[in-house]
Subunit: 234 residues, 2 copies
């Protein structure tokens, strides 16, 4: 009857029903003092687009987000964080998922010392020592069991070289790479030009597409991997 | 007749008719490389509230704005800038006004060297040398003829001391000071708790008010000064 037809329709379009996905998105901020901070141009749009579509496809989605001006997609559980250390903690606390998509751009470095009071404009120059932040993807490698792990590489040069290195070092299933300096790609844009490198050696390049469409391509690949794993049935 | 009544009504409520006002707002960003930058928590809300109300009160408003997510108020001419040097240039190019309200929070320091390519995560620490940015308010002191100049001081301690020093050094007519760490005050909030210090020694403290209301108080003071100068008639 009609109920079954509708049910079938929605089931067909909900291939991620029962699948738990963690998506990270946005930049992080590393405070210098109560007023100033170091950050990057990540807008969170790519990660939010993935979270939104994954939820529409039936997944249970946790979105771990740095500061953005974007609305939380319907039905998505959002956890707000500020610094890379915060994000690391939130990621490690939410590893009970089937898929991890690391679309965030956490700051690699942070000021060694946080100043409790606003630094007054005085000396002609300031020497600021930055220290390395923990590497979130590397830190979860020992915690990964059978989760599908997807990374991103935003580069300004040698995109393929850096992406392949990250793919291997961080034991990713696949990595979505883009040159953020290319026209139509990168931060705070609604479009992106990506190449997907897979651990099995496959390389797929795409033209300039809306981030919604790129999100769909990434999730289709995730579905393919989940089927191979038999986490979801054909 | 009715047209005159309406006209009179609007004239009454347009005390800044014919007055040109420059408002600066928001943070600036100082790039480290194509991906990273240093900035601060200024949201631009205070400056945008002033620009909006000044326009409604009849002024011709130029809004020189750092990167924000705010909508340009109706009828306001907005000039977008990124760095403190950009803002300095835009301010100096728009000095042909009657009133200058410097509500922006331009970065005091910038990285000495901009890296053309994304700095790769390598060494455990990085020594970043920051150099002083030009001081916009100080730089315009020699250019000020009879413009009313209003400054802001966002501090985390010794608010009165720093505000009085800035008022004198930068030859302001008055300064709007606040402690950004106070509950209900400061960056990215819709309210503010301010004290206005005037060059003539007057000090006026206000309770926690919406930024729209604070904008009204500031513009009322501007109108008082313009009347004293006879730029606008009683």
């Amino acid at each position: 009857d009609i109920v079954d037809v509708i049910k079938a329709h929605f089931t067909e379009n909900r291939p991620l029903e029962g699948v738990r996905i963690m998506v990270t998105a946005g930049p992080t901020r590393e405070p210098v003092d109560p007023v100033r901070y170091i950050t990057n141009h990540s807008s969170g749009k790519m990660g939010y687009a993935i979270a939104k579509q994954a939820q529409l496809l039936g997944a249970e989605v946790i979105l771990i987000s740095g500061p953005t001006h974007l609305e939380t997609p319907n039905g998505v559980k959002r956890i707000d964080i500020v610094t890379t250390s915060d994000m690391l903690e939130a990621v490690q606390a939410n590893m009970a998922v089937d898929v991890i998509i690391k679309a965030a751009a956490p700051s690699d470095y942070k000021p060694m010392q946080y100043q409790n009071q606003k630094i007054k404009k005085g000396s002609e120059s300031i020497d600021m020592k930055l220290v390395k932040n923990p590497d979130i993807l590397k830190s979860i490698v020992p915690l990964v069991k059978d989760q599908i792990v997807v990374g991103f590489a935003a580069e300004t040069q040698n995109v393929e070289g850096y992406a392949m290195q990250k793919l291997q070092e961080k034991k990713l299933d696949f990595i979505v790479a883009n040159d953020v300096t290319a026209e139509g790609a990168g931060f705070d844009k609604d479009t992106n030009i990506v190449t997907i490198f897979e651990a099995n050696g496959t390389k797929s390049s795409y033209e300039c597409l809306r981030k919604d469409v790129v999100a769909g391509i990434i999730l289709d690949k995730v579905i393919e991997y989940l089927k191979k794993q038999q986490t979801i049935k054909e």
